[in-house]
Symmetry: C2
Subunit: 429 residues, 2 copies
């Protein structure tokens, strides 16, 4: 490689680009090195478990489930969203993984006392301790978990999603991605010996309302896993410590936290959440039940709502894309409101049913415009426009934006408007 | 897939295997669900940044650099080690990333005030703010960072490494792996325009002693990157917040933290650390200077030192492998002290200059034995025995184990002895 080469990767060449101020450089222009020395006593203890810089202040936002609201109004906002606008790579830091729970605080489970029961239509009912599960062959895989209401104009985040000043956290913060480690559910089912006629599993958590979910057994044989590890450490309490069922690519509600029981049965059990909250009612009175797989989706995370462009010039566009059907095959980006599209770069790892980081170079001319991203998955399914989503619902766009009903599985293209003053706003309002 | 199929993946079939107790199952055998409800006030605030379970207590061990010790005795233990024995997947949680610093506390840097200077033999000296760097095209890559003294019988961890009760944390805890996000150094060098004759870079940190390192410019053009992201969040202070130079596969000392300056020069600068501590002296009086690339290495993390086998039966063996030369191509495991070897399974992602998770099935017969793992990288280099390492050093094994001199780049095969009572011990003592 020739270091002197001038090519399109040189961002300074147009003068208006960003990259650094040309200076008469000398070491005296540098910031002073930190000088003060802390007290040495007990300094070891302070470093046994590291902390982030106090200058880094990103947190989840929203609210944990509020039972008073729950009793009065199901459509009210609840849940804590991941701060996607500052995300890098494709791993969500575990402390920032979104959480929606239909109960109160996560249960405080001693892993030495926790067990997983596999029973029902099996030859050998089995009960496993957590340590026993950790001694079995495991898999380690990147998978996103996404609430089926994520990015919906009427989802769990409430009005914040359609506010003009919404950030990617408010619009798309109910999805997160981790490296999960655990045992394939198929490994456990083979141990138990599934009987003929068992067509569904009922997964049950150890939380206070004992959240249960009916899942077709084909998914159990495919890629569902009983996870004990998340991003190199034990699953976090808010994510189901010590055991969580990961059902890759399917609505978040299936990923049962604090997993304590798998019941093999011959029909779905019409559990509370899957009957009272998750069927989708259309305008024509028809409803969809037992929807599972999440469609292709993407969102530009920077520049995006709440960001202020520092000025015209070069700015790499970056975002996340994912699909419940498989791997992300392609992401296109438009910097002119959809008139033209260009392929974005996909960054490794490009894993199945996982967030994938994308980026695309952009030189902003200082004029108002709209940024868009569009995901295509490896099944060939293309992320739809909001008009296409409305057609599916037998409704118009205004209905989607203003109904009080939760519209699940909403994966329309997200528009971000860049104003001439550099401010960036949510254009899906 | 036939759920009734009985094959080698059924771990219960031999009776002596572990996997679960067959019971007359009923829901009453389950642990009671958590019942108590916490106070609802301020519950939201408690969840803005999640915490791990209080039942999870893994921490780094060792000591942060102690200046009094440093002045008296360079060979004394210092540094904080990653708890590898409980690791899953191949990402090290950022709070548990090992740290060795030749200064005191990490500097407390305000990223808004921090800059990176690129100067010396360049056409256009440049100074970048952190925000400016974040607007450039980036890469996201898995890379390990490893201290060149990691796993050495005489490394920074001191006598703990050769204790019979050493865990993988004590033997191999000075390596960690993250998903780093940042700008390739080559991108910045192209902006600055490197002049003819510039053959080395000097990278300098903003820490109190201004740690500096000479690096051949070929590595800068290859894959070195200026990282601002680690595992989806900003680089941690102990790892160089806000900017760290990542020099993939090379001795940890090159990965300059708190990076503030890159000087393009025409020779190495014989900086303090690379002259006073890092040359390797052999018994014949010859020494090796400017060693960079770390060799292929692996360690079984479970069952390993400090673990207690719960009894005979099935137990998946698992561990980590890596090489500074490229990707891990193969890991072999021996469960009989090296008489026979079998290929382990490598788990995705298998990235270049990154930790790779491996596993291998094992059914323990309850007898004393020794477990070993051996890594081969994609250059065909095989992890050596300790006898082979001793030969390289023109020494014998006893010298390696007992010298007071730090023996760097020590990548010999690690033996774990399994005793008949199920205890597992360090056999490299």
């Amino acid at each position: 490689m020739n270091p002197k080469q001038t090519d399109r990767r040189r961002f300074l060449k147009n003068g208006a680009a960003l990259a650094g101020l040309a200076i008469g450089a000398s070491a005296s222009a540098l910031p002073a090195a930190a000088a003060a020395e802390p007290a040495l006593e007990k300094v070891d203890e302070l470093h046994l478990y590291g902390e982030r810089s106090h200058f880094v202040t990103d947190v989840r936002n929203g609210s944990i489930n509020n039972p008073e609201r729950r009793l009065k109004d199901e459509a009210v906002a609840f849940g804590l969203r991941t701060p996607m606008q500052d995300s890098v790579g494709m791993i969500t830091p575990s402390p920032l993984h979104f959480t929606i729970s239909h109960s109160f605080e996560p249960p405080d489970i001693d892993p030495a006392e926790h067990h997983l029961l596999i029973h029902g239509m099996v030859d050998r009912p089995l009960i496993f301790s957590v340590d026993e599960i950790k001694r079995l062959p495991f898999v380690t895989r990147f998978h996103f978990v996404e609430c089926h209401g994520n990015s919906s104009p009427r989802g769990p985040g409430g009005d914040a999603r359609v506010a003009v000043n919404a950030t990617p956290q408010e619009t798309h913060g109910f999805t997160s991605c981790s490296q999960w480690t655990g045992v394939l559910l198929s490994t456990l089912l083979k141990e138990a010996g599934v009987q003929k006629g068992a067509t569904w599993i009922i997964a049950e958590g150890a939380d206070e309302p004992k959240h249960s979910k009916s899942i077709p057994i084909g998914k159990a044989w495919d890629d569902a896993l009983v996870a004990y590890g998340q991003n190199g450490e034990p699953v976090r309490p808010e994510q189901g410590f010590p055991l969580r069922l990961i059902v890759p690519g399917w609505q978040g509600i299936n990923n049962v936290k604090w997993l304590r029981r798998i019941d093999l049965v011959d029909e779905p059990y019409m559990a509370m959440m899957e009957t009272s909250r998750y069927p989708s009612m259309r305008l024509d009175g028809k409803s969809r039940w037992f929807e599972f797989e999440l469609g292709p989706k993407s969102v530009i995370t920077r520049p995006a709502g709440g960001y202020k462009m520092p000025g015209p010039g070069f700015h790499e566009i970056t975002g996340l894309a994912w699909s419940g059907a498989g791997a992300v095959k392609r992401v296109e980006v438009s910097t002119d409101g959809g008139h033209t599209w260009k392929d974005a770069q996909l960054h490794d790892p490009i894993a199945r049913k996982s967030h994938t980081r994308f980026s695309a170079p952009w030189t902003w001319d200082g004029k108002e415009t709209v940024l868009l991203s569009r995901c295509t998955d490896d099944q060939g399914t293309v992320q739809p426009t909001i008009a296409e989503v409305a057609k599916l619902w037998n409704a118009d766009i205004d209905f989607l934006l203003k109904t009080q009903q939760v519209v699940g599985d909403f994966n329309a293209i997200q528009p971000w408007k860049v104003n001439a003053d550099g401010s960036v706003q949510n254009a899906l309002v």
